[in-house]
C-alpha cells in the first residue's frame, strides 16, 4: 500500500478517534449540565455572586424651621480577618494608619474570632491611606455615623444614637422606628480578581433613608434659653437649672434647656443623671407657683372674688396644729395682693374657703398627678396623693405648693391653660415625621384636653399675675418695659430623699407668659439650689426677662418701650413746639436716619409710613404744613441723604 492508498485509512482512523473524543466530551457535558448542573451552578454562584447589605442613612432630626439638630453621614469601619493576614509584618502599618496602639492591634489580631473590628467609623483620610496599603485580610464596611451639629443644644431632648445606628435615648429612642429606615440588598458579582461589578443592574431592594423627624423646637429660642440659663446658673453658683417654653395655644414645646447638659457627639462617661430629660422625668415641689392654680380654682368656683380681702395674721397663722409662715408679715390683703406678695397665710385662707375636695379636683383638672401625654420618653406623673390620703395640714401646704410634686412640663402646661383662656392643651414636641419621599407619615396636631377654668377666670387671673411683675410684686426683675407679662415666682424647699424631710437647698422658679393680653409663649425658669440668692424673683426672674426679650424679637411680638421723656422734651425743644395733634403741623424729619426718625415719631406720638432706606430726604406733609387728624407722615429715605426739592 503506497502513501496515496494509506491516506483514507488515516483519515478514517482520525475521524473515529475524534468522534470518540467528542462523544466523551459530549457525555461529560451532558453529565455536567444535566446531572450535576444544578449543584455546580449553585457552587459557582456562591463563588462569584453575593448579596450586599445596604445600610440606610438614619433620618435627620430637624427643628420647626428645618434646621438640622441631628444628621447622619457615611463612615466606613475597618475590620480584620486574622487568619487571612499575610503575617509578614506589613499589617503593622494598619495600626499606624489608624492611629491605634500596637498593644491594641496585637490584642485584636490575636483574637480567635474570624472577624474583628479594628476601628468603627474611621476618619476618611486614614481610610484612604489604609486602602492604599491593600493588605489582605483587612477590609472596610460602610456604616452610618450620627452627628449632632449643634453640640449640646437640646441634647436631653434629642438623646443620641449608638454606634450601630440604634436610638438609645430621647427622640432618637422614641422615634427609632421611623428614623432608622429599612435596610436594602443588592446583588453583586465578583470577577477573578475579586473586583465587584453589578451584573444584575441596580434594581435590587435599595436601602431607603430613614424618615426625618421635625420637632416643634425653635433652635434660636433654644439657644437663647440655654445661653441665658448657663449664665445665670454660673452667676448664682447653682447646682443646675431648666427653662421650658411652650406655645399655650397649640401645646407645642418651643424650647427645653437644662443645665448641666452634655454633648451627644462626645457622650462617653457622661452621667445618666445629666443625660436625663428632667423636664419630664423629675418631679419637684413647685412652691408658690402653685398659688396661681389655687386662685384660678377659687375664682372659677366663686369661692372667692378678686376683691375679697383676707387678714394675713402678720405672717404667722396656726392651722391644723402647725404654724404657717410668711417671709414678711402682712395685714389685710386682697386675693390679687396675696399673689402679688406671695403670702402663704393668704393662700391657706383662700384654700380653706375653696375646700380640700374642690382644690384637689382643680389640681387634677390642671393635669397634676397624671402624665401630660407628651411624646417624650420617661415621663413621670408627679405626686398628688389621693384626697383620701390628705391630712388636715395638706390643704394648707398644697395651697403654696408643698406636699405635692410636679414635673416642669406639668406646671408649664397648667400655666398654659390659664394663658390659653382656660383650655388645657396636650404638650407635644414632634410636629411631623416625613419619609425620604417627602410623604408625611405622622403629624401631631394640637389637642385640647379639657377646659379647666372659664375664659373670664383665666383673664382675671392673668390680670392678677401681671401684678406680680409690677414694682410691688415679687418679680419686678422679670418685667420687660413695653411687654405685658403675667407670672408667678416660686421658692421651694427641696425634699431630702436620703434623710427624709426637707434639705437646706432651694428651688427658685418663675413661670409666666406674654403678651398678657394675647399670650403666645409660656416660660418656666427653674434654678436648682442657687447660692447667691435663693428667691424665685431674684434667681429665676432675670433669666425670664432676658429670654423674653429675645423671644419677643424672634416671635415678632411688639415691644413698645415707654416714651423716653428726655427724648420727647428734646424733640419738642427743637423748634417744632408741642407734640403733633390732629391738626398741628408735623416736625421736620429731614436728614434723620430711619432709627432716629422712628424714635422721633414715637416721641411725638405720630404715625409714619416709610419708603426706602438710608436718611430721610423728603416728608409729606412737609414740616410746618397743615395735616389731617390721624394722618400718617410719609417719609422717603435715600442713601444719599440729600433732601429732595
Amino acid at each position: 500500500m503506497n502513501a496515496h492508498q494509506r491516506r483514507p485509512v488515516r483519515l478514517g482512523t482520525a475521524s473515529v478517534v475524534i468522534g470518540a473524543v467528542l462523544a466523551v466530551v459530549a457525555l461529560r457535558l451532558c453529565q455536567l449540565a444535566l446531572v450535576d448542573g444544578h449543584r455546580l451552578a449553585s457552587l459557582a454562584r456562591r463563588q462569584h455572586s453575593e448579596t450586599e447589605q445596604l445600610t440606610p442613612l438614619r433620618g435627620a432630626i430637624l427643628d420647626r424651621f428645618g434646621d438640622p439638630l441631628a444628621l447622619s453621614t457615611r463612615a466606613d469601619s475597618v475590620f480584620v480577618r486574622p487568619s487571612k493576614l499575610p503575617g509578614d509584618g506589613s499589617e503593622a502599618a494598619v495600626a499606624r494608619e489608624l492611629r491605634i496602639s500596637r498593644g491594641q492591634w496585637l490584642r485584636k489580631v490575636s483574637s480567635t474570632s474570624p472577624f474583628t473590628w479594628i476601628k468603627r467609623q474611621a476618619n476618611p483620610v486614614d481610610l484612604d491611606r489604609l486602602r492604599a496599603l491593600n493588605i489582605p485580610g483587612v477590609g472596610t464596611v460602610p456604616e452610618v455615623r450620627r452627628f449632632y451639629p449643634h453640640g449640646r443644644m437640646a441634647a436631653s431632648v434629642i438623646g443620641f444614637a449608638g454606634i450601630d445606628s440604634q436610638g438609645l435615648e430621647g427622640i432618637e429612642l422614641a422615634y427609632d422606628g421611623y428614623l432608622r429606615g429599612p435596610t436594602g440588598e443588592m446583588a453583586v458579582e465578583r470577577d477573578a480578581r475579586g473586583r465587584k461589578f453589578l451584573a444584575a443592574g441596580i434594581d435590587g431592594d435599595r436601602a431607603r433613608q430613614g424618615a426625618n423627624v421635625v420637632l416643634t423646637l425653635d433652635s434660636s429660642l433654644q439657644y437663647a434659653a440655654e445661653s441665658e440659663l448657663d449664665r445665670r446658673v454660673a452667676e448664682t453658683r447653682a447646682k443646675g437649672g431648666l427653662v421650658l417654653m411652650l406655645d399655650p395655644r397649640r401645646g407645642e414645646i418651643l424650647a427645653l434647656a437644662q443645665n448641666p447638659s452634655f454633648d451627644p457627639n462626645a457622650r462617653g462617661g457622661v452621667d445618666a443623671e445629666v443625660r436625663r430629660n428632667r423636664a419630664v422625668a423629675d418631679a419637684y415641689e413647685p412652691g408658690s407657683t402653685m398659688k396661681a392654680l389655687l386662685a384660678s380654682a377659687a375664682l372659677d368656683q366663686r369661692a372667692v372674688s378678686a376683691s375679697d380681702r383676707f387678714f394675713c395674721e402678720d405672717g404667722h397663722y396656726r392651722y391644723a396644729g402647725h404654724t404657717i409662715h410668711d417671709h414678711h408679715g402682712y395685714g389685710v390683703l386682697s386675693v390679687a395682693q396675696i399673689l402679688q406678695v406671695s403670702s402663704n397665710v393668704g393662700a391657706t385662707k383662700i384654700a380653706e374657703r375653696l375646700g380640700a375636695k374642690s382644690y384637689y379636683q382643680a389640681l387634677r383638672s390642671f393635669g397634676l398627678g397624671s402624665a401630660t401625654g407628651v411624646d417624650l420618653a420617661g415621663e413621670q406623673a408627679g405626686i398628688l396623693r389621693p384626697l383620701s390620703a390628705w391630712k388636715s395640714i395638706d390643704l394648707a401646704t398644697a395651697s403654696f405648693g408643698h406636699g405635692l410634686a410636679v414635673t416642669p412640663l406639668q406646671l408649664a402646661a397648667a400655666y398654659g391653660a390659664i394663658a390659653n383662656g382656660g383650655i388645657l392643651m396636650r404638650p407635644y414636641i414632634v410636629k411631623r415625621v416625613v419619609d425620604d419621599g417627602g410623604e408625611v407619615v405622622l403629624e401631631n396636631q394640637p389637642t385640647v384636653l379639657r377646659r379647666v377654668v372659664s375664659q373670664a377666670t383665666a383673664r382675671q387671673v392673668t390680670q392678677i399675675l401681671e401684678g406680680v411683675v409690677a414694682p410691688k410684686g415679687t418679680a419686678p426683675l422679670a418685667s420687660v418695659p413695653g411687654l405685658k407679662i403675667a407670672g408667678k415666682t416660686g421658692t421651694a424647699q427641696k425634699v431630702d430623699f436620703v434623710h427624709g424631710g426637707y434639705s437646706r437647698g432651694r428651688i427658685a422658679s418663675f413661670v409666666g407668659y406674654f403678651p398678657a393680653d394675647d399670650p403666645q409663649l409660656v416660660m418656666l425658669v427653674i434654678i436648682d439650689e442657687p447660692q447667691t440668692t435663693i428667691w424665685g424673683g431674684t434667681a429665676a426672674a432675670p433669666v425670664f426677662r432676658s429670654i423674653a426679650l429675645a423671644a419677643a424679637e424672634r416671635l415678632s411680638i411688639p415691644v413698645e418701650p415707654p416714651v423716653d421723656d428726655e427724648l420727647a422734651a428734646s424733640v419738642q425743644q427743637q423748634g417744632n413746639s408741642a407734640p403733633a395733634t390732629a391738626t398741628s403741623p408735623p416736625a421736620s424729619f429731614l436728614g434723620l436716619s430711619l432709627r432716629e426718625a422712628l424714635e422721633r415719631a414715637r416721641a411725638l406720638g405720630v404715625t409714619v409710613d416709610v419708603v426706602g432706606s438710608g436718611y430721610v430726604v423728603h416728608q409729606d406733609p412737609r414740616s410746618g404744613a397743615p395735616m389731617g387728624a390721624d394722618q400718617p407722615i410719609r417719609l422717603q429715605l435715600d442713601a444719599s441723604g440729600e433732601p429732595l426739592g
Binding site: 460602610p142 439657644y223 445661653s227
Partner: protein, 95 residues
C-alpha cells in the same frame, strides 16, 4: 473493504450556513456577555461615585449645619465682628 473509495463530499451550503450562524450566535453571545460585564463594571463605578458624592453631600450638610449653629454664629459675631446683643430700646419696630 475498499477504503480507497472514501471521498469527502463538498459540504452543502445549508450546512455551512448553519455552522456560520451558530458561530455567529456564539460570538454574539460572548460579545454580549463581555458588554454586560463591562457595563456591570461601569455601573459599579457609577454606584460607588453616587455613594461617594452622597457621602460628600452629607458631610457638607453636617459642616453647613455646624457653621450655621447659633453657638458658632454667636462666637463669630462676638469675636470676629465685634457684635453684641441689642440693649433695651435699641430694637425699633418698623411701621
Amino acid at each position: 473493504m475498499k477504503l480507497q473509495h472514501w471521498t469527502f463530499a463538498r459540504p452543502s451550503r445549508v450546512a455551512l450556513a448553519w455552522v456560520a450562524a451558530l458561530m455567529g450566535a456564539g460570538a454574539l453571545q460572548v460579545w454580549l456577555h463581555l458588554q454586560a460585564t463591562e457595563v456591570g463594571y461601569q455601573l459599579s463605578a457609577l454606584h460607588k461615585l453616587i455613594d461617594r458624592l452622597a457621602a460628600e453631600g452629607s458631610d457638607l450638610e453636617v459642616e453647613l449645619a455646624t457653621m450655621k449653629s447659633p453657638t458658632s454664629l454667636d462666637a463669630v459675631a462676638r469675636a470676629r465682628l465685634g457684635l453684641r446683643p441689642p440693649r433695651d430700646g435699641q430694637i425699633v419696630g418698623l411701621p
